[in-house]
Amino acid sequence: MNAQWADIGVRTLLDSSLVLAQVLILNRLGIPFAAITLFAGLAAYGVATALHFGPLLFILAVALSVLLVVVFTALVRALPQDSYLLLTLAMLGVGGALVSASATLGGQLGMSSTSSVLRAQEPGPFLWCAVPLFLLAFGLIWLLERSQFGLAVEVARMARQEKQAISLIPLWPITALVFFIASGLAFSSGAFQALYTGRVDPNVFRIENAIPLLVATLAGGRSPWRASAIALTFFIFPDLFSLLVGYQRNAMAQVREIIWSVAIIILAEKQLAGARIVR
């Protein structure tokens, strides 16, 4: 029973960390970014390949993540919001297509990511990774609420509509820094998830996997307390319900997807009302 709760705890905390990472970009910076799982997926495959082939591919995954952050940051002002969102989703799709086409990376079936140091499916040691990661993500958002850096991030958010705001802060460095922090959190979460589950496959890049995270992000808002509470509830609920009621978690996947999608339909009206053309 304790192992079961620990398992739920690890998965919930790692998924919630991903949500908080996306909150930094989507809610705090105001950038329409829906592909936080891209960094998690890169980390997952980086870890898996490092375990099989040595650290070189892991370093490549890190370098690719850094490059993606630079590209995403550079494109923020060049692209209108809808095109930017489409681009991020398309990058996810390309990532999925590339890994599923690669025999080295296991193709459609994926590859093993079991480590001898941290053994897969043993939640105890992973709690020591997941809890600090979550607290770090929470702490960063909490710091943004209170610090001058956070005020600069708010001004950066305003800069899409207000020309004057661009001269008040170093826009590109602020945006890049927040992106780096968020991608770092997502990368760490992805790496831990890969080690914990012991297997990675192209599904990590599926757009359908990004949707629940997007729902939790939109619902979470900018407050660290609200975002954390919603993210934790969001991810713990299916397992909790399954434990208490006894239904098969995977059997209700379609119902869950319908619920998340309806939530986006409702939240898109509320959260994004006023997100007019800012070309």
């Binding site: 710091l143 209170r146 610090s147 001058q148 850096f149 956070g150 005020l151 600069a152 001004v155 305003m158 509509q161 207000e162 020309k163 004057q164 705001a165 661009i166 001269s167 008040l168 802060i169 170093p170 826009l171 590109w172 460095p173 602020i174 820094l177």
Partner: protein, 470 residues
Amino acid sequence: MVDTDWVISVHKASKRFGADVLFESLDLEIKPGKAIRLCGPNGAGKTQFLLGLAGLVPFDEGEVVLHQDGTRKSFSSDPYLRDRDIRYIPDSLGELTFRSVAEFAFLLSRSLRPFHLGSRADAVTQFFERVRPHLEQVFGGTLCAEAPVAALSFGQQRCLAIAAAVAGPALPPRALVVDEPLTGLDASGVEEIVELLSEVKRQGVALLVAEHRPQIEKLDFAETVQFPYHRDCTEEAPPRSHPAWEGGDAVKAGRAETAPLLALDSVRAGYPGATVQCDELRLGPGEIAVITGDNGAGKTGLLKGLLGLPPTTITGRVEFEGVAVPNLAAALKSGKIRYMRQNRSSFLGLRVADVVKIAAWAGESPVPLKVLEVARRTGLRKRVEQLSAGNRALLALVQALAGRPRLALLDEPTANVDPANRVEIFSLIEHARQEWGTGFLVVEHTRLPLPARYYRIERNHGYPRLLPCG
């Protein structure tokens, strides 16, 4: 001690939008304590120049250079770095006004340390306590640190923005670039801003000001730059007399006996919070009424309010062709009234021929020959975005007159239009007036070479009012 041994030079600055050249090969020298005024109609390029100078938009060509101590240094293209030397105050403060007074002043004074993890509340409080006496002296009253800036009047917001921009911990900028600082202000607000800018100038800061109102001349400008700026363009007023309107100096007596086309009594119309009071206005067939006023006075809002276009409001008595109506929306829909907007970027992607067809959509009669002739001259096969500013204005007028409306509301029909096209515009207006008896309600900054009655929007007892003038 403010450094005065420098010169900022602008070399051959140019900016174009499609077919429109806003300014070309503009050279300028900005010196300590020197004030430069930018003049020109809306859309002429003044704001684009100021934004380019501050690094917020790039010039298509040209550079901005600092000469100091015998050295020459190009400014960084990063607006944040350039802001230390050339600081921009926009005409509209937008979302920044949702901040508290203290935070607003903190941000605009550039006291924010963007990568500092220390408490923002403490930093803002400390800063505000330090500068409060100075700001309140400039402001002429007490400031509540926690109140939102949006609760202050326009004039107070501008004062606060300008005062904060030079009140930071570091040295003030070399140049302050201010866009239409007197827009929407009453006489006392104008005086405060002008006095504040004079003080800033006395401190050795160079000023570049885009402003129409004559009160700004108290700043004693060393130079005036006229926009649109072309290196070989001379601005000419249209000829006083022209064959198109010969003999039209006086309103035809016959028309004065018919019922007025448009009658306004105690009408209050415009954007919420910026409505204009019109006690009485009568416009007969073939007559022209011109509404003038400063930028931000409410002229466009008044027109839109009369037409019932959201989000404007209207109250009072409106009569069109002798019939009382809540507003002119129904007449607009039926084609009896047409509206020429200030924004000429309408029906982008369509050809001129298509636009003319659309303009005559609801009409029962074909497009008048005179109107068609003008449309042909702009180029029927051309797309709207390929036209110059002057041709777009002509096309907008063609759209307004293609259906032979009873009344045409024209919003700055000659703004940013070259002299030749201006003659065409007046010629077309006069033709419509004489041949079809179309009445015109025109918003303009200058007097027209056509017989017209003039009104001006002035702040009267604290709110804008439409008053007849000579």
